[in-house]
């Protein structure tokens, strides 16, 4: 049996190069599918936000929920993005976006607080019958800590809504939360877009290489 050492092959006849190309194509298809799925999710979140905003306008009056009331005095954005280069590949040029919600210079700890309180919501603690008192003390101190961290975030949220007046409809607050969720989805989309374009460039390079060979 003659063994060709120049072109190593696998059991199914594919070379390493073909396996890598297939992997690139699969990665590109996966990233495109994920991109479309998340865009669909964004549409749902935005629809909810628009509906809540319309409800708030209905209850508060069109003159109170209006672009005329927008704050045109000098102020920085309370929510911003951190852009970093993709780790692992020095020359990839692929940016990675991270959302910093309500993170002004005075309340950067609110990011951690937000994560903590959102994790608590996702994983509610179970009651233990045996040590009820100890459990209640622990949860009240944890709740106090999360409330303390949440307060600056709530203050920023209220400040953002203050252009519409001191007392605002609960629907307006709900709309604010929906648009915050939409922002998180958009950052996810931005990262997926970056992945998709990177995978596309790799697939395109291989295709161009094949055309040049022929």
């Amino acid at each position: 049996m003659v063994v060709d050492h120049e072109t190593p092959s696998l059991e199914n006849g594919q070379t390493d190069k073909e396996v890598e190309e297939n992997a690139n194509v699969l990665q590109f298809m996966d990233s495109m599918d994920a991109y479309l799925t998340v865009i669909h999710s964004l549409s749902s979140t935005l629809r909810r936000g628009w509906l809540e905003l319309a409800s708030a306008r209905h209850s508060m009056g069109a003159s109170r929920v209006n672009t005329v009331l927008l704050d045109h005095t000098s102020h920085p954005a309370a929510t911003s993005l951190l852009v970093t280069q993709d780790e692992g590949k020095v020359d990839s040029g692929k940016p990675h976006f991270t959302l910093c919600k309500w993170a002004s210079s005075s309340n950067e700890n609110s990011l951690l607080g937000e994560k903590q309180s959102s994790q608590d919501k996702l994983h509610p603690q179970l009651r233990h019958r045996g040590s009820t008192e100890l459990y209640e003390e622990k949860t009240s101190s944890e709740n106090k800590a999360s409330r303390e961290v949440d307060d600056p975030v709530q203050k920023e949220r209220s400040k953002s809504l203050s252009m519409f007046g001191t007392l605002v409809s609960p629907k307006l607050r709900a709309a604010q939360l929906s648009f915050e969720a939409a922002l998180e989805t958009l950052v996810e989309i931005a990262n997926m877009r970056s992945e998709m374009l990177c995978a596309f460039d790799q697939v395109n390079m291989k295709l161009e290489g094949r055309k040049d060979e022929k």
Binding site: F28, L53, H75, S178
Partner: protein
């Protein structure tokens, strides 16, 4: 307009000392030239990482949006209240869709 108001409530609005904003509300009085100039301005600003543009507005300056190819700021086309998102018009998907055309598949197989 509601999209801009919503995102401003989420805290992304910025107004600098010269009262220049990081958003543009497009209404019936906004010209295509204004949209083009704002797009060019936002895509060259150092303090903007992502540009959100309603797909309906992006269609008005489609040539400009499709010819933009920098990684940052990222241009994200989003649906608007009156115009749902259409993947066929998305600039990123248009760029990659030719990979699925019969010609590109056939040339790869030769």
């Amino acid at each position: 307009m509601d999209t801009v108001v919503g995102f401003l409530m989420a805290g992304v609005g910025n107004v600098d000392l010269r009262r220049k904003t990081n958003y543009l509300i497009v209404d019936s009085k906004t010209t295509v030239k204004q949209i083009e100039d704002t797009f060019k301005e936002f895509t060259t600003r150092e303090d903007i990482a992502v540009v959100l543009i309603s797909q309906y507005v992006a269609n008005m300056i489609r040539f400009l949006v499709d010819s933009y190819n920098k990684p940052v700021p990222a241009i994200l086309e989003i649906p608007s209240k009156d115009h749902p998102y259409d993947p066929a018009h998305d600039s990123v998907l248009s760029r990659v869709k030719y990979l699925f055309s019969a010609e590109s598949v056939a040339s790869g197989r030769r």
